[in-house]
């Protein structure tokens, strides 16, 4: 098991280095930050001074080597836009993002796990039909539309929740629903199909035939095996929620990392973007490591042959 974990960690490290190269190159293909940061009326000689100050005039490999050597020490340089430590700015937003991602995941799982379970066990009943229609809607509705409808109904008309901001738990509800609705639909679907697949396996039939009650077959035999693909999907969804709740963060004026990243792209704020991607990559790699360990615990075949 220890070897397996070490192997997965090494794998994660390779991913991080790869991400750093890709990110560094992509950012530099997207244009010159000086064009965004300086007023249009800046004289060319001042633009040159600015580019020298920011280190933008050096060759790309030199900039990358410099970037990497500082990055491993947690130094991503100064934000061009905010003129302060880039990593600090990103980490400042991390708690808000974790809170929102957590709330969205909670919302998603609260509905999707029971719903997927019910849809599978009561297959082809009106419960199943209802849940599947709901899932279809959840996957089809775009986040920005859902967000605006939620604001109009729950915040403006009935005033149950604040429109936007980050004051208290109430302000988390609407963004969490917006961010979590897609993953709710996905997890429901996967759990349903995974359970149905497992329920058709021969060992379930054996369990039934030796007289085990239907509830016990489900909870003791089927669920654990059906959980593996579901765990994989949830892992992907968490990664997605961490970086992808941009729509919810922008519309609800929520001070998270996604909104920071979008703004930073607009400002071509390379240090902040690099710090953001690094923090995200580390989070996702750690998350996957955790999940890998969990799979191995759920399924001994993985730790033996993985």
């Amino acid at each position: 098991m220890a070897r397996y974990i070490l192997y997965r960690m090494a794998h994660g490290l390779v991913v991080l280095v790869g991400v750093s190269v890709v990110v560094f190159l992509l950012m530099h293909l997207s244009g010159d930050p000086a064009a965004v940061l300086l007023p249009l009326d800046t004289p060319p000689e001042d633009v040159a001074i600015f580019r020298r100050e920011m280190g933008l005039d050096r060759p790309l490999p030199v900039q990358y080597a410099h970037f990497l050597s500082r990055a491993v020490r947690g130094n991503f340089g100064y934000s061009y836009h905010y003129r302060t430590d880039a990593l600090f700015i990103v980490l400042q937003r991390l708690p808000a993002t974790l809170k929102l991602a957590g709330a969205a995941l909670l919302f998603s799982l609260f509905f999707s796990l029971p719903a997927g379970f019910v849809a599978a066990t009561l297959k082809d009943t009106w419960w199943d039909l209802l849940i599947r229609s709901f899932v279809l809607v959840g996957q089809a509705v775009p986040g920005f539309w859902l967000a605006l409808v939620l604001i109009m109904l729950l915040a403006v008309r009935w005033q149950w929740f604040p429109v936007s901001g980050s004051q208290g738990w109430q302000s988390l509800v609407l963004p969490a629903i917006t961010a979590g609705s897609f993953s709710m639909a996905t997890v429901t679907y996967i759990l349903r199909s995974s359970l149905l697949e497992v329920m058709a396996k021969e060992y379930i039939l054996t369990a039934h035939s030796k007289g085990v009650g239907p509830w016990a077959v489900l909870t003791r035999h089927a669920l654990k095996n059906a959980a593996i693909p579901v765990m994989a999907v949830i892992g992907v969804q968490i990664g997605w929620l961490l970086g992808g709740s941009v729509v919810a963060e922008v519309i609800f004026a929520y001070p998270g990392m996604g909104r920071l990243a979008v703004n930073s792209i607009g400002y071509r704020d390379l240090p902040v973007l690099q710090a953001f991607v690094a923090v995200m990559a580390v989070l996702v790699v750690l998350l996957n490591l955790g999940l890998d360990v969990l799979y191995a615990w759920l399924d001994p075949r993985i730790r033996l042959y993985g």
């Binding site: 249009l40 905010y82 003129r83 302060t84 029971p114 019910v118 403006v156 901001g165």
Partner: protein, 521 residues
């Protein structure tokens, strides 16, 4: 399976109970601090004013602020030597008066008895420190506006001189908003980073906290000096919240989450008015154009007849009326209404498509021509499409290319833009910066008229404001007759106000001035 169905029913009940629980709770109110009853007649500031801005400030250090959202904070926390009031007149700020001594010296008599928020007194040392910091702040976006300053000389504690390396008539304008006066002792104690974390100025409000992308909180400075055009603080607290999405800002205004909404769009006005809330709209100094590449001889726009034809071809009034909701005035040249040297005798081109067709034929384009127009994603596509549609009527086929603002500006700076590009320019009534795109020597200019260039350069190097006005006025006629683009309209800044807001005045300089605004609920 009955057990399972029971479980399902319980699970379905949980959210219903939660909804009922939430619904029965008292309505959600705005952030804390709103409970004090506001009495606007009382001299002491009271209540909380919450403002919804469209973007966050980029820094709390005024030297690194270059956008409207940041200026709103800067004008609340800091003062400048000279101010522009709500009518855009130059009025005393921290300097009570100023005079030009010789060609290359500006002398300021400073206001006495002003103290910074930390108790440090304001005097000539503070001016010297602030100017000198700007001169060496190589990464400060506005440093280039002060390159004519060679040094600062303290005459006595309340008299200070700026020594210039050349006469610079535009310096007054730059001093009104781009060079905030900072407390030297405090700055020395905390350093640049410490200052950006906890800024101290002499403005009507003092800094409380900044949570980036969430809010800036300011508290009234009850010792604010008398006589500022900004007025005394009327509320105890100001909360500035960046809310990027316009629909969300409007919802906040409707529910009382914010008192003032910045950047209301024209299609939201009806909603605001039907909710019984106020709308304040004021024209700014930002002018809208379609600019042309004119210096390239292979392009149709090299010919002045084509450029005039394009101005005749666009029904600008119809676009203002139908797409901008009537907000905005036509312009006839880059020296817009209210600008120094604005010439009311220079009138916009009338809408005359037949004349346009005739001029195009005369210039050798009887069948028109095809071209490309760049726009930035921060601009409205519908107005660009309307302009293109009207040009198509006279045979000019325009393809629109859209860029994010960074790429758009980069193309402009590197002179790689298309033959037409949709530009917005200007935020003060001083036309100082138009030479950059309207003269032979401007580094982002694609237009060269020697006479215009001579006039603009003379205006730049003259300290006498009346003489400058005369020069700009003359240039305005020339730029009308030899157009560098299609002259469109002045941009309008529109605010939505909650019913309890009193005393709000919009500044044409894009910053939102929060002192002087009272709020009652």
């Amino acid at each position: 399976m009955t057990k399972l169905k029971r479980v399902v029913r319980v699970w379905m009940l949980v959210p219903m109970v939660a909804v009922v629980f939430v619904a029965c709770r008292p309505k959600v109110t705005t952030p804390p601090g709103d409970t004090l009853p506001a009495e606007t007649s009382s001299p002491r500031p009271s209540g909380t004013l919450t403002v919804g801005l469209s973007a966050d400030a980029e820094s709390m250090d005024p030297f690194y602020v270059n956008q409207a959202a940041g200026w709103s904070v800067v004008h609340a926390l800091f003062d400048h030597l000279i101010d522009r009031d709500f009518e855009s007149n130059l009025v005393p700020g921290l300097a009570e008066s100023w005079k030009v001594v010789g060609e290359r010296t500006l002398e300021f008599s400073l206001r006495q008895g002003v103290i910074f928020h930390n108790g440090e007194p304001f005097d000539a040392e503070a001016v010297k420190f602030s100017v000198e910091r700007m001169l060496v702040a190589e990464d400060a976006p506005n440093r280039s506006k002060f390159t004519s300053i060679d040094g600062v000389e303290i005459v006595d504690r309340y008299t200070v001189r700026l020594l210039l390396n050349q006469p610079d008539g535009t310096l007054f304008d730059s001093l009104t908003s781009r060079l905030a006066i900072l407390p030297p002792q405090y700055f020395a104690e905390v350093g640049a980073e410490g200052f950006a974390r906890a800024p101290v100025g002499s403005g009507p409000f003092q800094f409380v906290e900044w949570v980036p992308d969430d809010h800036v909180t300011l508290a009234a400075n009850e010792a604010y000096w008398e006589g500022s055009y900004k007025g005394q603080p009327q509320v105890e607290r100001v909360i500035l919240r960046p809310i990027p999405e316009a629909a969300t800002r409007l919802a906040e205004l409707q529910t009382g989450g914010i008192d003032i909404m910045q950047d209301l769009s024209t299609d939201q006005i009806a909603t605001v008015e039907s909710a019984g809330l106020k709308v304040v709209a004021d024209e700014t100094y930002q002018l809208a154009y379609v600019l042309f590449v004119t210096e390239d001889e292979s392009l149709p726009t090299h010919d002045v007849r084509v450029r005039r034809a394009l101005n005749y071809a666009v029904d600008v009034d119809a676009i203002i009326e139908n797409l901008l909701g009537g907000y905005g005035s036509r312009i006839a040249s880059p020296i817009g209404p209210g600008y120094l040297g604005y010439n009311p005798d220079v009138t916009p081109y009338p809408y005359d498509p037949e004349r346009a067709v005739a001029l195009l034929a005369e210039a050798g384009y009887p069948a028109g021509f095809a071209t490309v127009m760049d726009i930035s994603t921060t601009d409205r596509t519908d107005t660009a499409e309307a302009v293109a549609g009207q040009l198509a009527q006279v045979g000019v086929d325009v393809t629109i290319r859209s860029f994010d603002i960074g790429q758009f500006n980069q193309n402009w700076m590197e002179r790689t833009q298309s033959p037409f590009w949709r530009a917005r320019w200007g935020n003060t009534p001083d036309p100082q910066s138009i030479g950059l795109f309207a003269s032979c020597t401007g580094w982002i200019s694609r237009y060269c008229n020697q006479e215009v260039t001579a006039l603009l350069e003379a205006a730049q190097a003259t300290m006498d404001q009346e003489e400058r006005a005369a020069l700009y006025s003359e240039a305005s006629q020339l730029m009308h007759d030899d157009p560098l683009g299609i002259y469109l309209w002045t941009s309008t800044q529109i605010y939505g106000l909650g019913s309890g807001v009193q005393g709000f005045r919009s500044s044409p300089l894009l910053a939102l001035i929060v002192s002087g605004v009272a709020v009652s609920r």
